[in-house]
């Protein structure tokens, strides 16, 4: 693929930042829904370039952040069972359960393996026929089809010792829930480009139609993100609200119908618990009855004591844009990036973690 020349990037960035500053006459708060956007924004130093009146807040789109601690407790309980190999994306390793992390369990002797692709789990299962290989299936509409396809591949290969511990989630119900009670303080959304690559943009039309909030399906380069912010700021100033697509090379109106079908073949919608946000109707995915033999909780039921999440954690309000992390009593005291309590402190790029690490840090030129 063609690479953008640096001087073009620099000139385009200068244009967009200047225009964003010129257009935004009042404070606006934009939410990047996707954790990968949060990382990209941080890595490009975008917050640092934006005028003070344009604030970016991170939404509930970091699958690691929103996975409830009860899920981690269950994963940890399986990792302690004899004959179980846990396979996981690297992101999950340091996420805290109620009392421990997978990383700590691995140090204590649990067989926990990091995979880049869930397909690797099938080989691990074939090479360890006497063991049960349990994949920690987390992620949104982008990642869930990958897990679904892996389950079908395992079925086709007659691999009987591959299982999933599933906690897949769907983005639109979470946004609906954030907006439903009317107090979410967000003026525009950067929509997750890679989720929309599968679903298309139509699941987000309600943002404009029902709530009159503009939204843009956004790619992941610095320029993609600046251009999306520019588009949003422009709409906010004119009072328009459209759901646009600025990532057309990847996001088609219909998404990826084949991937959607595979997802639908294996998974059906179900209620799900989000860390910091609680239970959200239809926001999760569960294995359909034909595939429950791949569900480790079915094959090997296990009793995990229910440990409530920290009651003082205010991540839900941080995610709604209602408070800043500093207003939470746990922030920086009980809850730190090394010992996170809440969702937003878990991932390196979560809102609280970013505040803790960088504060209102700006380079003093």
């Amino acid at each position: 693929m063609a690479v953008y020349p640096n001087d073009h990037i620099q000139k385009a960035a200068a244009f967009f930042t200047k225009e964003i500053d010129r257009l935004s006459k009042r404070p606006v708060r934009l939410m990047e829904v996707c954790g990968t956007h949060t990382v990209a924004i941080f890595k490009a130093g975008i917050r640092n370039l934006l005028p003070e009146q344009v604030e970016l807040v991170s939404g509930p789109g970091c699958p690691v952040c929103v996975t409830p601690s009860s899920y981690l407790d269950t994963a940890i309980a399986y990792s302690r069972q004899k004959g179980v190999i846990i396979t996981t994306f690297g992101d999950m390793l340091r996420v805290p359960g109620a009392k421990s992390t997978l990383s700590e369990q691995r140090a204590a002797g649990a067989d926990i393996r990091i995979v880049y692709s869930p397909l690797e789990c099938i080989d691990i299962a074939k090479n360890n026929p006497m063991k049960k290989v349990v994949f920690l299936a987390v992620g949104f509409e982008t990642t869930a089809p990958v897990a679904a396809a892996t389950i079908i591949a395992a079925e086709n290969a007659s691999v009987k010792n591959f299982f999933v511990l599933s906690a897949h989630k769907r983005v639109p119900p979470a946004l609906k829930m954030l907006l439903a009670n009317g107090d979410v303080n967000v003026d525009g959304f950067l929509l997750p480009g890679h989720v929309c690559a599968i679903t298309g943009e139509s699941p987000y039309h309600f943002l404009a139609e029902q709530y009159h909030i503009p939204a843009v399906v956004t790619g992941f380069s610095a320029i993609d993100i600046l251009q999306a912010i520019y588009t949003l700021v422009k709409q906010i100033e004119t009072g328009e609200a459209l759901v646009g697509n600025q990532y057309k090379q990847v996001v088609k109106p219909e998404g990826n119908p084949h991937a959607s079908r595979i997802l639908d073949q294996v998974y059906g919608k179900a209620d799900a618990v989000w860390r910091g946000l609680g239970k959200i109707a239809n926001s999760g995915l569960e294995l359909r009855s034909n595939y429950t033999s791949f569900d480790i909780t079915n094959d090997m039921p296990i009793d995990v004591p229910n440990q409530p999440e920290h009651s003082a954690c205010r991540c839900g309000e941080v995610l709604r844009g209602k408070i800043t992390p500093r207003e939470c009593l746990l922030f920086g005291k009980t809850c730190t990036p090394e010992q996170p309590v809440g969702a937003c402190m878990v991932s390196v790029e979560g809102t609280c973690a970013a505040w803790h690490r960088y504060g209102t840090w700006r380079w003093q030129g």
Partner: protein, 76 residues
Amino acid sequence: MCLAVPAQIISRDEMLALVDMDGIQRSVSVMLLPDVKQGDFVLVHAGFAMQLIDEKEAEFTMGLLKELAEHGSLPE
């Protein structure tokens, strides 16, 4: 939430394709994108080709950037 990278299909069989990303190669599954052909650009996530990349749209974006860089304004 979803790290994905562009790659070009070098060759493929029924289930797997060999892809090139800036000179590195990896085998990826085409289960989610069964109609891809050699030479296509695709988006790869967690070892799977997820979606075709529309080269015309990519070029259009490139052109926009060039336009911006050269004239300091967006075409209306």
